[in-house]
């Protein structure tokens, strides 16, 4: 059974059919790419997968469970985490706290325990710190743990967003243009990091990206969206050589 199974997904904004008859199936452990021209509907697909938009049609199954139209928070609890095209960090909090917020649902203690600082508070906080630092170290961010998130350079902010998403212990990680605004070297580092987290955290990854080096370098499979519809789907090398895709997206 696939980890993610999407059938006939569609959404309209007023008269605009942004996504239509979208089908997608991702196996456990895959690294999957979603590409397509600007305004094709890629981010919109992410928004539907994470419950930010309610799809007008279609079904989304995660691990066999129907999550269509569920609340964003519940979808996260079911195992989907994401990053955003326009970075959305908790800017006024430290790097460490950003990750600890991601850990929120994995470590429990009640509000009263926190207010009255019962022993459980100290124990849990300590564990959370440890775990958070562990995740941060994957990105080399552990040394910046107590900097305000908004003071990080742009590229580091993107990585912190990934770290925060990973902290929620997802089965499926959605990355929206993780390499935007990075130079080729930084992009290469990012590729390594993505490969590493797949291995270490055992997550399945679906990513949107316009940087073809990254896409062809790490994605095993691709879906190409064009005007809200699937243009091509399949193994990366096949898709990238598809003349339709070249015409609509890659150019040359």
């Amino acid at each position: 059974m696939s980890l993610l199974e999407v059938t006939n997904l569609g959404i309209s904004f007023g008269g605009l059919r942004a996504v239509d008859e979208f089908n997608l199936s991702i196996e456990q452990g895959e690294l999957y790419g979603l590409i397509g021209p600007n305004g094709a509907g890629k981010t919109t697909v992410f928004n539907m997968l994470t419950g930010i938009y309610k799809p007008t049609d279609g079904m989304i199954y995660l691990d066999g469970k129907n999550v269509t139209g569920k609340k964003t928070a519940d979808i996260n609890k079911a195992g989907v985490a994401r990053t955003f095209q326009n970075i959305r960090l908790f800017g006024d909090q430290s790097v460490l706290d950003n990750v600890k917020i991601g850990l929120h649902n994995s470590f429990e203690y009640g509000t009263a325990t926190g207010i009255f600082r019962l022993p459980k508070y100290f124990a849990t906080e300590k564990e959370m710190d440890k775990k958070a630092l562990e995740i941060l170290s994957v990105f080399g961010l552990d040394s910046s743990a107590d900097i305000l998130a908004s003071n990080l350079p742009y590229g580091k902010q993107r990585e912190l967003e990934i770290a925060r998403a990973l902290a929620t212990n997802p089965k499926l990680l959605l990355l929206d243009e993780p390499a935007a605004g990075m130079n080729p070297n930084e992009t290469r580092d990012l590729m390594n990091t993505i490969a590493l987290i797949r291995k270490e955290f055992g997550v399945t990854i679906l990513l949107i990206e316009h940087d073809m080096k990254l896409v062809s370098g790490i994605c095993e499979k691709l879906t190409v969206l064009n005007f809200g519809r699937v243009l091509a789907q399949g193994k990366t090398s096949d898709v990238l050589n598809d003349p339709e895709v070249i015409k609509a997206y890659l150019g040359e």
Binding site: T43, N47, I52, F84
Partner: protein
């Protein structure tokens, strides 16, 4: 007949709220600040009209013109001294300063004009019309206020939509820094907004006190709060919304007094406001911008 009478009373009260709300919404819409001192500028405007008319015997129209000039200047001075330095600070800081300015204007008026109420002579001499053989009276004040309100609303809407400064205002309200990149003088635009808002306050003051003729240094504060409520009711930032919000607020207030309880009328007005906002979270005409993710 009773109902119609109440409805008309409500309209005339509402039109006063509406005209104040227009000033609120104008400033809020562009500068994104709640100018809590707006009600007090209205009070000053009313005093100026009063001084001109009662003390110097000037005609009403001239008095209002003088008052508009004074209030416009006052608005721009306030903006320059108290709000402009806080342009880059949080909106809340400006809100608090506005409260300080409001206290200042009230106490300044207390010094200048004394605490005793003065009775305001209506700027409108027209007695109004009688319908249904005198059973239904609409006062001249009410008619003129409503007409003024609608005219101002139309002019403002036209101004914002079709003139260069109006265009600049819209850009500033969206994103101040990006507006600079368009070549828009943000400071001048905000000053202009204040000037217009304060000029409107002068007209509002004259009309407010014509309908409710007792003027004290604190005359502006309560209508100010009510008008702010009205502006939110209609969808803050929306010019026609301010008109509709004001009128509705007036009508609800009067009908609640008339048919439910005059003791609880304020509570009822606010309860209706809450219900409306729960159904329509951005007010009646407010546009709901869904954040693009």
């Amino acid at each position: 007949m009773g109902f119609l009478t109440y409805l008309i009373n409500g309209l005339s009260l509402g039109s006063v709220y509406a005209i104040i709300a227009l000033g609120y919404t104008m400033v809020y819409g562009i500068a994104k600040m709640l100018n809590f001192a707006h009600g007090d500028v209205i009070m000053i405007g009313a005093y100026v009209v009063f001084m001109c008319m009662a003390n110097s015997g000037m005609p009403a129209v001239l008095s209002i013109v003088i008052s508009i000039v004074c209030c416009t200047a006052l608005g721009m001075i306030i903006e320059k001294i108290a709000y402009k330095p806080l342009r880059k600070a949080t909106n809340l800081a400006v809100l608090i300063t506005a409260i300080g300015v409001s206290y200042f204007l009230q106490n300044m008026a207390l010094m200048l004009f004394g605490s005793n109420p003065v009775s305001f002579t209506s700027v409108i001499k027209w007695q109004g019309i009688s319908l249904a053989g005198g059973a239904l009276k609409i006062t001249g004040n009410a008619i003129i206020t409503i007409i003024t309100c609608v005219v101002i609303m139309i002019v403002l809407m036209w101004f914002v939509k079709n003139t260069k400064p109006g265009q600049a205002m819209r850009a500033v309200s969206e994103d101040k820094e990006a507006a600079i990149l368009m070549g828009i003088n943000v400071n001048a635009t905000i000053s202009l907004t204040f000037a217009i808002g304060s000029g409107l306050a002068a007209i509002a003051g004259a009309l407010l006190c014509s309908s409710y003729p007792s003027l004290t240094p604190y005359t502006g504060s309560m209508p100010g709060i009510k008008a702010f409520t009205a502006a939110v009711f209609g969808g803050i930032g929306s010019i026609p919304g301010a008109l509709i919000g004001g009128l509705l607020l007036g009508i609800i207030e009067i009908l609640a007094k008339a048919y439910i309880s005059s003791q609880l009328a304020d509570a009822i007005v606010f309860a209706v406001l809450i219900i409306v906002l729960l159904v329509k979270p951005t007010g009646i005409l407010g546009k709901q911008i869904k954040e693009k993710v």
